[in-house]
Amino acid sequence: MDISELKRQSDLSYDIAIAKRNALEKAHSRLVLVYNEHIFRADAQTISLVKTLHETNTAPFYVLDTNENPVEISDPAEFIKTLIARNQEVLGAYHQICKTFQKRGD
């Protein structure tokens, strides 16, 4: 492989890395959702916490939103459903974008 081909590959890798970073940032923005007038991230940590609390406590229980304010969760089943729906919508879209990166890098 000559140096020009190496440079081309390097440029392509850089472009893909930037695009992937931006796609991840886009996913992080989309993971944020408003529920019960408070702001949450539909990430693995929130889902795990709410699911655990739901399994070990009777509703209502309390969690912190993104600004560290307590929020009463009176319908945990609905909240978990909302969190998972958003989480999988976002990660599904991110997965699709990542597939296009793989094709570009082939």
């Binding site: 890395a17 930037i18 695009a19 931006n22 940032e25 886009k26 992080h28 923005s29 702001i39 993104t66």
Partner: protein
Amino acid sequence: MTKGVLLFCFNTPDCDYHRILQRCVRLIRKNLRLEITVVTDFDTYTKMSPMGHVNYKFIEPELGNSKNGSEWRNVDRHMSYELSPYDTTLVMDIDYLPFSDNLRQYLDTDYDFLISKDAHDLTGRSSFDLRRFSMIDMVWATVFVFKKSAKAKRIFDMIKYVKNYYSYFVELYRIRDRRFRNDYAFAIALEQANGFLTYDTLPVRLPTLPPDCRIVDIDDVGLTWQYGDQINQTQGQDVHVLNKELVNV
């Protein structure tokens, strides 16, 4: 409860900002689906193409600020509280292009005032991570949400106070940039109004293209930019475009 978007748009001798406004309005209507009020002056208004149902508020912009040698009409943001006709208002820079509906949900929270503290450099250079050129964390007054409430009123009153004595606060907080910047005025006011501790923020980093990025192509779903010999694009992601050549794309 009424909700809507408040935009400020004033042409300058160097930039036809109304052309950026028209693009922004189209995207707000498509993605955010909120009522829109534009704060402008009559000269700028006469140059605008018809944009459908948009409310207008006419003011004479305060002059005297400049950026890179050009006039910069950015001083009137402190009047958002009085100018907004809505109970809950999303204020956006017109060069913040909402290619998604992400911002819409922030009008449904219990918070009186929300603003972002971070920006994401879409070119990957982390240009905005080293902007602590002061003793205070900067906020991005590019996008913020407020309710008509006593707390929000207090914050805007404090912003007005900071604006009136801005040269003093620039010294106090050792802000390197001597021009009036809403980002610092809001940051100072939020800190002062919230007991010098903390305040509520939007948990997102605003995707931003630095001024040295040229916009190559733009449509209703996203844009393509060039930086050096690199070309990249994004779709379905809001973008704050700092290069005003956006006017000519």
